[in-house]
Amino acid sequence: MERRRFVQAIPFLYSSPALLAQAIAKLDGAATDAVGRPLPHFFSGAQFAALRRLSDLIVPAMGGFPGALDAGAPEFLDFLIGQSPLPARVVYLSGLDALNAHSTAKYGKAFAAVDDTEADALLSPLHEAWTWQEPTEPLSLFLRHAKADIPTATTNSREWITASARNRGSAGNGTYWLPPE
């Protein structure tokens, strides 16, 4: 049944306006991340491999909660950044390229292949005190954004919130404003 005809039929299926509103809300919020798996396409293979390694370092699995890789954070960021305005794309593309370039120059291998100790040296900007002044150097700027984005992509995932619920948490609940007529 095409969506419009289905929506027109809904009033006959629901006894109260509240139930009707909930039903329409569910239609509008189809949860595609529960089905299938994402297909990364924005970052290059080398960039995406670096992002996966970085994601695992920034949010590892711990304390019964999934890490960034379990939560599909790199795949989600590939989708998000790929749709973002140019400045955000430049931050990620330049930063991931810089990460690989620094890694290759220092260790002769891509960031995806470095061990934790080697990675820590490359991620030295994350050990600097945060200030309101954004850095201008590409790697530092990228790491600043990634340090915020990877945890958010992780903790807002179905996997992380499901784990939170098991721990009696109530993360991920919000009040969504439906689109106006």
Binding site: M62, G63, W130, Q133, R144, N156, G172, G174, Y176
Partner: protein, 502 residues
């Protein structure tokens, strides 16, 4: 305004650019992972609305449908809501009165102009507005922050709050409880419109995008408005004996500019200002509250520092002053900790509930050179010419922000808090959503657009009742003053109608 007029038996037609909203049914619970962008929001949808998130995205005016321009060097964040109820659907509810430090600001420091009214003119209307919006607060007797008709806030202060308040008092910095509208919703949608509709005197027309006001060439009076149906794009005209514009500061001025009316003074669009915000001016930690040791006795609560500079003494490098919202018991953001991975998660966990933070809101000087005009190159989705906004802050604001940063850091130190970060970087003009001026009041028709009754100097049956009428704003959130001015203008208008003058 409609609330006041309809209660007096006056028939009102309200044209609203937005759709109606059923607050109970148009908002639904949802999990963040069920949103298309996991809570990040659709990239690029709201470049100027930092308040937008993926849950509330549909409440804000679409920036592509409602464009505006500014010079690249001076960005302006114009935050709008186009739904019935407007920005009162999502406001922060802070409800402060202005004082004669604002109404008669020029008398205190010689800058700019005074309002044409005094605090005593508006006080009776503040008295009426506060009960409608169920404002809670604590009476203090501050001359610069008059007390109101409050629901008394008797909540106790936590130990950390008492330490900060004590540190402030020792340096002569006053504090008080927040003054806020209470209730599950504190909007014109539920507190004003229902009463007005119940009189039978109000007709609300949603989705009516007003293009321009129309003027009777014979009388020079406004006689109605041309508007566009938001959905069908049909052009329509509504007639009126009196026109009241209350579209929100810059939208009202845009409408008058597009109408080519009410500007014999040449100041329509000028003297744009707001309150500057320095969000998270200080982020501190209460050391004893680390590692889960901060119970309800030690942590929690919020407070407010009213303006204290240039009251009893003179600041060195700025006039007027700033206010501060402060709170205890939050968790400092992960960005403040120079770690990642497990170390970062442990650091955040260690500081959970141990934070203290303060945000500065500063008075911005109204300047002629900050202004809006019609951009001849761009129209909105309904073909209505859009605004160009030119605004930037001056040394007075920058110096004030620096003083706030240093003062707050000192107070935190005195209170025994550890400051993680302090800064004085303001958000761009407009982001506070407190845009004011551009259609200001005054006694002199050559230097102001409105008289002291929010009535056009040029066209006596035209009133403007929003933040655009402000002459000076202070550091207080403006909503309560906008309400009081509107109610006062309504009383005046009704009396003029009764007397046959309108």
């Amino acid at each position: 305004m409609a609330h006041t007029l309809t209660a007096k038996g006056i028939k009102c037609l309200m044209l609203d650019a937005g759709p109606p909203i059923d607050y109970d049914h148009d908002r639904v619970p949802r999990k963040v992972y069920d949103l298309p962008y996991r809570g990040f929001g659709q990239p690029g949808r709201f470049p100027h609305v930092t308040q937008a998130d993926e849950f509330n995205a549909n409440v804000w005016a679409d920036e592509k449908q409602n464009p505006y321009t500014y010079d690249a060097a001076d960005p302006y964040y114009w935050v709008r809501v186009r739904r019935i109820g407007g920005r009162t659907l999502v406001w922060g509810r802070a409800s402060w009165r202005l004082s004669d430090y604002e109404f008669k600001a020029k008398d205190h420091d010689g800058f700019g102009d005074n309002w044409p009214i005094s605090y005593s003119d508006l006080a009776p209307y503040y008295d009426k507005c506060e009960p409608i919006f169920r404002v809670s607060g604590r009476k203090e007797g501050f001359a610069q922050l008059p007390d109101g008709n409050f629901i008394e806030d008797k909540s106790p202060d936590s130990v950390s709050m008492m330490r900060f308040i004590g540190a402030a008092k020792a340096r002569g910095v006053p504090t008080t409880k927040p003054r806020r509208a209470t209730g599950s919703l504190a909007s014109s949608l539920n507190l004003l419109l229902p009463d007005a509709l119940a009189t039978g005197n109000l007709t609300v027309v949603p989705n009516a995008v007003v293009r321009q006001l129309t003027v009777d060439k014979n009388t020079g009076l406004v006689n109605g408005a041309d508007f566009v149906d938001r959905h069908s794009r049909q052009e329509r005209h509504a007639e009126a004996r009196i026109v009241v514009v209350g579209a929100g500061c810059l939208e009202s001025t845009r409408l008058l500019l597009n109408s080519g009316t009410a500007n014999s003074s040449g100041v329509l669009g000028h003297y744009l200002f707001d309150q500057f915000y320095v969000k998270g001016t200080v982020q501190a930690v209460v050391p004893e509250a680390r590692d889960g040791k901060g119970g309800a006795d030690l942590m929690g609560g919020s407070g407010y520092i009213p303006r204290f500079r240039n009251i009893d003494s003179k600041a060195q490098d700025f006039i007027r002053g700033y206010s501060v919202d402060f709170g205890s018991g939050g968790t400092p953001g992960a960005k403040y900790f120079p770690h990642y991975g497990e170390a970062l998660q442990k650091a955040v966990a260690s500081h959970r509930g141990a934070g203290f933070d303060a945000t500065t809101m500063g008075s911005v000087l109204p300047r002629f050179e900050n202004f809006v005009s019609i951009d001849p190159t761009i129209v909105d989705a309904w073909g209505v010419p859009a605004l160009h906004i030119q605004a930037k802050y001056s040394d007075n604001e920058f110096n004030m922000a620096r003083d706030a940063m240093n003062t707050l850091a000192e107070l935190c130190h005195d209170a025994g808090f550890e400051v993680l970060e302090k800064h004085d970087q303001m958000v761009p003009p407009g982001e506070s959503i407190h845009e004011l001026g551009t259609c200001r009041m005054g006694d002199d028709a050559k230097t102001s657009v409105l008289n002291k009754w929010n009535q056009s100097h040029d066209i006596k049956n035209l009133f403007v009742v929003d933040g655009s009428s402000f002459v000076v704003g202070g550091s207080q959130n403006p909503t309560l003053t906008i309400l009081a001015l509107s109610m006062r203008a309504g009383d005046y208008m009704a009396e003029q109608m009764r007397a046959g003058s309108l």
